[in-house]
């Protein structure tokens, strides 16, 4: 049956591609924002991994860490391994039956399901990648998301 597996595999692949695009970017790119008061690109990239750590905590209880903020290309490169590890955790759950979760949050117990966490993971990363690409273009940098879409993922997988 059709499942979330393709979406999660695409997520893992596109995260690797996306962070790689930032490995060689000049430092100032990581400070670009959509508008005053909005998060800069570096913070959004850090947030992608932070969210991944939160999903992992929700799913298997492993605590999140103090992530090094992404302020330049070399830190972005370090995130390749972090993202790969976090995305592997999501994939472990994609073919399991849905399950109710009781998550110990800062303000008490949060009730969720594995399906909610996995769906949020897929949607959230795509949204922020769209946002980051828009910020890049707004500031005159080229970042084309079409090579990171699901068609491209499958095309590349077929040719491996």
């Amino acid at each position: 049956m059709i499942s979330l597996e393709t979406s999660l595999r695409h997520l893992a692949w596109s995260n690797q591609k996306f962070f790689t695009l930032f490995n060689d970017q000049p430092d100032e790119v990581f400070g670009l924002k959509a508008a005053d008061g909005e998060w800069p690109i570096g913070q959004l990239l850090t947030h992608l991994a932070g969210s991944g750590e939160w999903y992992r905590y929700c799913l298997n209880g492993v605590m999140w860490t103090d992530l090094k903020p992404v302020i330049n290309g070399s830190v972005a490169k370090e995130y390749l391994g972090i993202m790969a590890e976090l995305d592997t955790v999501l994939l472990e759950y994609c073919n399991q039956p849905d399950k109710a979760l009781e998550i110990e949050g800062e303000n008490g117990i949060i009730h969720a399901t594995t399906s909610l966490i996995l769906s949020q993971a897929v949607m959230h990363a795509a949204e922020h990648k769209g946002q980051i690409a828009a910020i890049m273009k707004q500031h005159g940098h080229h970042l084309d998301l079409d090579p990171l879409d699901v068609w491209s993922f499958i095309h590349e997988s077929k040719n491996k």
Binding site: T6, K129, K137
Partner: protein, 162 residues
């Protein structure tokens, strides 16, 4: 049996699409022609792009010819109609995703290609999500903070549907 994570993802997409398009219908009409980096890529045009893709992708899943595109005017009423149309298309997706995996062959940009139906399904959500973020960003650049993406996440969806 439906995959519950996939159903959640599609129900959320339907709700988030409709929320964004409804928000657009409530903005001053000038906002629908705002742009950021590309003068041709207008807020209302991107909304049309999301909704135009829906019947094309659905037709691929159903092995049918894609219907003719409907271009909704960049007016408040146009965005209301687009929001209604999106809701119908998204309901049609939801009724169709409970399928066995299958290879599909269809025309894409003039080429005959083959992809699994799971790929089409994944692309439907990915495409809409990316472009909703673009709409929010272009409005933000133009100092309109109406669409807050944090209030359109899965947690918010779940809270709104308890």
């Amino acid at each position: 049996m439906s995959n519950s994570a996939l159903v959640t993802l599609f129900k959320h997409m339907s709700w988030a699409n409709h929320s964004v398009f409804t928000a657009l219908s409530e903005l001053p009409e000038e906002a629908l022609t705002l742009t950021a980096w590309d003068p041709e890529w207008k807020v209302g045009g991107i909304a049309n792009h999301i909704v135009m893709a829906q019947p094309r992708l659905l037709a691929r899943l159903k092995k049918e010819e894609a219907p003719a595109d409907i271009d909704f005017p960049l007016t408040s009423q146009g965005m209301k109609d687009l929001a209604d149309h999106s809701l119908k298309n998204d309901a049609a997706f939801l009724a169709w995703i409970d399928q066995p995996e299958e290879m599909l062959t269809f025309n894409r940009f003039g080429n005959t290609v083959s992809f699994l139906n799971t790929t089409v399904v994944a692309q439907i959500v990915h495409h809409a999500t990316e472009h909703r973020a673009q709409i929010a960003d272009i409005l933000e650049v133009n100092k309109i903070s109406t669409i807050r993406l944090d209030s359109l996440d899965l947690w918010s969806y779940e809270r709104a549907h308890r």
